[in-house]
Symmetry: C2
Subunit: 228 residues, 2 copies
C-alpha cells in the first residue's frame, strides 16, 4: 500500500497454501517465496500430520507474516481455535458444514484474542450461513472455483461464483479465492472484489518458485484496490 493510499482501500493479498506433509517441506517451500507472500496457510494435511508444531515452527521462522491454520473446524470450535492460536496462528478456518453452535463459539474466541476466522464456502453452502457469520463478526469467506470448471481447465470463473464474491463483499465480507488459480487469471479480478488470492503448488511446485511467486505478486499488485 502506498503512503498516500486512502485508509478505505487496501492492497490485495497473496496466500500460499502449504499442501505438504512435513515441516521441512513447508520451510523449503517458503525459503525463496515468503517475501512475496502475505499469508502463510498451514494446510489441513500439514496440521494433521505434524500437529500444531507445524504452526509453531512457521511462526518462529516467519514472525511477521499472517499465518492461517487450515484446521477446518466442524465441531469443538473453541478448543481447536485456542489450540491453533496458542501455537501462533492469526487465523483459523471453519467449514461451511460446521455445527450451528460452532460458528459463534469460534468467533467469540477469535474476537477475544484479536484473531480472525476464515469460513470455507464448500459445495452446498447457503446465504443463511453467511448471515450467521456476519452476525457474530466473521468477515472472511473463501470461494472455491467450481470443481467442474477447474477440472475442465476452463480459466473463466462461473458467473455464479463471481456474483457470490460481489454479494459477499456487499455484505461486508472479505473474500479469498482459490481453486487452481493461475497468474494469468488474476487480471480478470480487476473489477471483482476478491481480496486474497490463494495458490499453492502453482508456486512451490514450479521449476523456479521465486519466479513463480513473483508472477503472482505482480499480477495481484497490478489490480486496483478493493473499496471498503
Amino acid at each position: 500500500m502506498s503512503a498516500t493510499a486512502p485508509l478505505a482501500v487496501r492492497r490485495r493479498s497473496l496466500q500460499i497454501a502449504l499442501d505438504v506433509r512435513t515441516v521441512p517441506e513447508a520451510l523449503a517451500a517458503l525459503e525463496s517465496t515468503a517475501d512475496d507472500v502475505d499469508v502463510i496457510e498451514v494446510g489441513t494435511i500439514l496440521c494433521l500430520s505434524a500437529g500444531m508444531e507445524a504452526v509453531r515452527c512457521l511462526r518462529a521462522a516467519y514472525p511477521l507474516h499472517t499465518i492461517l491454520a487450515d484446521v477446518r473446524i466442524a465441531e469443538a470450535g473453541s478448543l481447536i481455535a485456542n489450540l491453533a492460536f496458542d501455537a501462533g496462528a492469526d487465523w483459523v478456518s471453519v467449514v461451511s458444514g460446521a455445527a450451528p453452535a460452532t460458528v459463534p463459539a469460534v468467533a467469540q474466541v477469535a474476537a477475544a484474542r484479536g484473531k480472525e476466522v476464515q469460513v470455507e464456502l464448500s459445495d452446498g453452502w447457503d446465504w443463511d450461513l453467511v448471515s450467521r457469520c456476519r452476525e457474530v463478526g466473521i468477515a472472511q469467506f473463501i470461494v472455491h472455483r467450481s470443481r467442474d470448471a477447474e477440472a475442465s481447465g476452463n480459466l473463466a470463473w462461473s458467473a455464479a461464483d463471481l456474483d457470490a464474491i460481489a454479494e459477499l463483499h456487499r455484505r461486508g465480507g472479505r473474500v479469498s479465492v482459490t481453486g487452481g488459480l493461475k497468474p494469468e487469471e488474476i487480471r480478470a479480478f480487476s473489477e471483482i472484489p476478491a481480496e486474497i488470492f490463494i495458490a499453492g503448488r502453482g508456486i512451490y511446485g514450479a521449476e523456479d518458485p521465486a519466479a513463480a511467486v513473483h508472477t503472482y505478486r505482480t499480477a495481484i499488485d497490478s489490480l486496483p484496490a478493493v473499496d471498503r
Copy 2:
C-alpha cells in the same frame, strides 16, 4: 466372547476417548486402563495438537488394540484417511456435515486398505446421510446423547436417541454411543443394540482409573450380545 457364543453375535466394546493434548498424557491415561479397553480413540484435539505422531506412538505402545483417529473428516477425505491409516489407525471418523463426495472417497480408501469409518451423527444429521453411508459400505455410526439431556444430568437417553439406535442397527449399522456415559447407565442398553460404549474422562479422570475402567467393563460384559 465365550467360546460357545454363536458367530452371529459378539461381545460389546468399550472405547476410551483420549481428550488430552499430548502423547505423554495419552500414554498415562492408558497405562492402568488399556487391558479393559477394546478401542483407543485418539481424540480430535490430540490429533491436531500432536499430529499423526500421536497415532504412531499409540500404535507402537498398543499393537493389538483397535485405534480410531478421530480426525473428523469434512473434506479432503482420501488424503486425511490415508494419513491416519499410514500412521497405524484402524478407523477414522467423518463428520455428518462432510461434503457429499467425501463419504464415498473415505469409504473407498478404507475398503481398499481393510480399515473402517465411523460417522459422527451430530445435530442436524438425517437418514439420507445414513443411506449414503450404507450404500458405500460404511457401517459405524456414533450417536451422541442430546446435549440438553447431558447438560441436565438426566441419565435417561431420549426416546428419539434410542429409536435412532434401533433403526441404525436395522439398517445394518454398528452403533457407538457417547455423551457423558456413566457405568450405571449401561444396563439400560440391555435391549438397545448399541455395540460400542465411549467414555473418556469418566475413566482416566477418575481417582482410580483402573477401578473406573473395570466398572465400565463389567457393566458392558453383563449386557447380552447384539444380534447381527
